[in-house]
Amino acid sequence: MEEEDQQKVADLVKELVIRLVSPESHPPIPNSSDLQSSLRYAIRLLSSRLTPSVAPDAAAIAESTKRRLATEGKSSQALTFADLYTKFASKTGPGSVNNKWAVLYLLKIISEDRKNVNSQLDSSVLLPNLDFNDAELGNESRVLGVRGNKDKGWSNGVLLVSKDPENLREIAFREFVNLVKEENEVSEEALVRDVLYACQGIDGNYVKFDTNADGYVLSELIKVPRATRIMVRKLCELGWLFRKVKGYISESMDGFPSEDVGTIGQAFCAALQDELSDYYKLLAVLEAQAMNPIPLVSETASSGNYLSMRRLSVWFAEPMVKMRLMAVLVDKCRVLRGGAMAGAIHMHAQHGDPLVHEFMGRLLRRVCSPLFEMVRSWVLEGELEDVFAEFFIVGQPVKAESLWREGYMLHAGMLPSFISQSLAQRILRTGKSINFLRVCCEDRGWADAATEAAAAAGTTTRRWGLGYGETDALELLVDGAAKRVDKHLLNVIYNQYKFKEHCLAIKRYLLLGQGDFVQYLMDIVGPELSEPANTISSFQLAGLLETAIRSSNAQYDDRDILDRLKVKMMPHETGDRGWDVFSLEYDARVPLDTVFTESVMTKYLRIFNFLWKLRRVEHALIGAWKTMKPNCITSRSFMKLQNAVKLQLLSTLRRCQVLWDEMNHFVSNFQYYIMFEVLEVSWSNFLNEMEVAKDLDDLLAAHEKYLHSIVEKSLLGERSQTLYNSLFALFDLILKFRSHADRLSEGINELQARTMESSVPSRDKSKTKKRVNDKSSEPGSWISDGRKALTQRAGEFLRNMGQDLDAVAKEYSSLLEDFISKLPMQQHVDLKFLLFRLDFTEFYSQLRPSK
């Protein structure tokens, strides 16, 4: 085999020499001396110690050839060459050229040589000592010892001369290496290794953490150039950042059960940990690379390890950016927790750099997953799984009645900025509705609604299904759940708890909408209430209330509603009459006490008191009318009176009736206004709003509005305080008038009785006596007086009454004028109608300017 090869080589060399020496046009003379000497020369060259000065890398050679062509301006040829090379390289298998790189290298050298020959013939000058006829070297067998070169003195000479340019470079390089070695006490490989260690937070041999400088620095004692020192410092920034991040993670994780890091903090740490594991992978790769030498074109040139400081700085560029971000986040989040932390990270994610953006997005998805899970379970199950107080909804233990209003709050600090305020409100309300249903309504149907919502929102509702950046999906889920849960809640409130019926009952009883009931009640409790407040028993009043219910149409109302109606005695002071402290109360139980809260009931109470007073005044006026109806006081019975007295009596009566009429006009119009312009209109609006209410908040707002409009229009508001006062002064005056009118009619009755008695003494004696006995306590009784005295007394009484009535009428007209003049100052548009109604004939407005 070996010999066969050798023979083949010899034959081929001979052939080659023949081909080269003699052009085809001149057929060579075999065995001519020229040919022989050429052959010997060739064999000597081939057997020389020339070894390839490059690493056997075909691709590299092809690349360099291509570059040379390109730099010579033959770009098209360069392209063709590259193309040919790829085809050439792709030929494998039997029959292909095995030693491709050698062929390429050969072509390259020949091509270069030819250029040199053409330009300058210095290569020929470099080989002057080669003698063709050197017999000693003419041994053909030398060719065969190509690999096992013998060390001969001459071959050194040949080698040196032939490779001179390479040697020059090599020498220069060696010198440079020596220079570098002299300057650096530490080799670059060692420094690279140390930097890699430092980047894992470990002190190396030379690079150590310096607490004073707060960073990894190269020890001062080691002699290295300034540039290297700076480079090391720069690269080790990564180590410093890593230390910081790592420190935060271990701090949070170590103190986990005792300190409240929170689930979001933990998620953040886990996400950071993941990023760090990527970083570890990179470092491991780099460390492995640090051991490998750089594959250089020239084998002999001693290349450094693959990783130099500069390469390292390129490798570190991306991790450095990430690590800086993480360090910034760690700094930011050290004091933050929960939603605030997520918000802070979100603020950093608003970055134009896609790398940063993507990195932060990845981080946020991890960080926010516990938060979104909380939202999910809150919205769908009403569970507040928030052990570490990280959620933006906080619950507090409250009584059932205030659960809706105060049970759950938004915690603004924990609300991350990627969840908008309105969305947060909706989230809050949905969970609140569920909890309200569960706690106050003892309802289980919400679970179906929630399941339905979950199904509607699709796949995003599975556990951990929601992520950062899917705000739309979140909104969809929340909206779906909110819609269904709220609908269910309203259904429960309307149907199971009969909200509407209760509202109506309140309107009928507390707002005195049920006329016959109010009339009966007023009749029954009236005498009782005239007593001083401290003598009245509320039990007795309760009994009277029951009687009033039974005797009015209210008895057909739902028993449950009637049971809730109670008498309430307000705290009273000495001198208060029963009228001042009596009121009705409606007991709204859970869950309706969410709507009818304490403060709402207080408002109802105020309205009730006002209306009750109005009714009382009206009742009083009607009572007065009953006694002084013209047909009750027949003028015929006064026939026997003196003319003057009779006239006086008639004029007093008349004055009284005119005044009554004026008062009645005012009261009945006011009553009308309150009943129809205020109560019914507000109620109708409220009903409409109740229809369109989508959730409990809407319902509450509607009810609030209803109540507010009643209060405002009934002059009970803040702004109409003075008007209200003058109105009450009017009411009081009317009540005073009532007592005067009673006294008048009583006096007239007495007078009538006296005159009847004197004319028909025998008749009705017992009855009169009885009355006399009743009145016996009254001073100045007329019984014993004679007819003249009677007339005198009557005259005096009527004069007094007339004066009193005059005073009342005067006061009344001034008060009424005051009231009417104040009325237009109210902003409320409905009050204009009241004014219009009171002053329909423009009687008062004509009266005023004249004054």
Binding site: E15, H26, S38, A42, P94, G95, V97, N99, I110
Partner: protein
């Protein structure tokens, strides 16, 4: 050597020859095939290149009358 191998060999030689032309080595097809064969046998390409160069240079002064051999 089957037909496939022969074809591959011929293709390879063609490609090498084309590359050689682009690089203006001045080698003819036959010479190139000999050189490839020698390379495949493990001879140092640098040495082979030196042989080609030296013998050609020798040719120039000897056969000054026939420049075709150089070209």
């Amino acid at each position: 050597m089957d037909a496939d191998a022969a074809k591959t060999a011929r293709d390879s030689l063609d490609l090498a020859f084309q590359m050689s032309n682009i690089l203006e080595t001045g080698l003819d097809r036959h010479t190139l095939s000999i050189l490839i064969a020698l390379c495949d046998l493990g001879l140092n390409p640098e040495a082979l290149a030196a042989v080609v160069k030296e013998l050609r240079r020798e040719l120039v002064p000897q056969d000054a009358s026939s420049p075709s051999s150089v070209q």
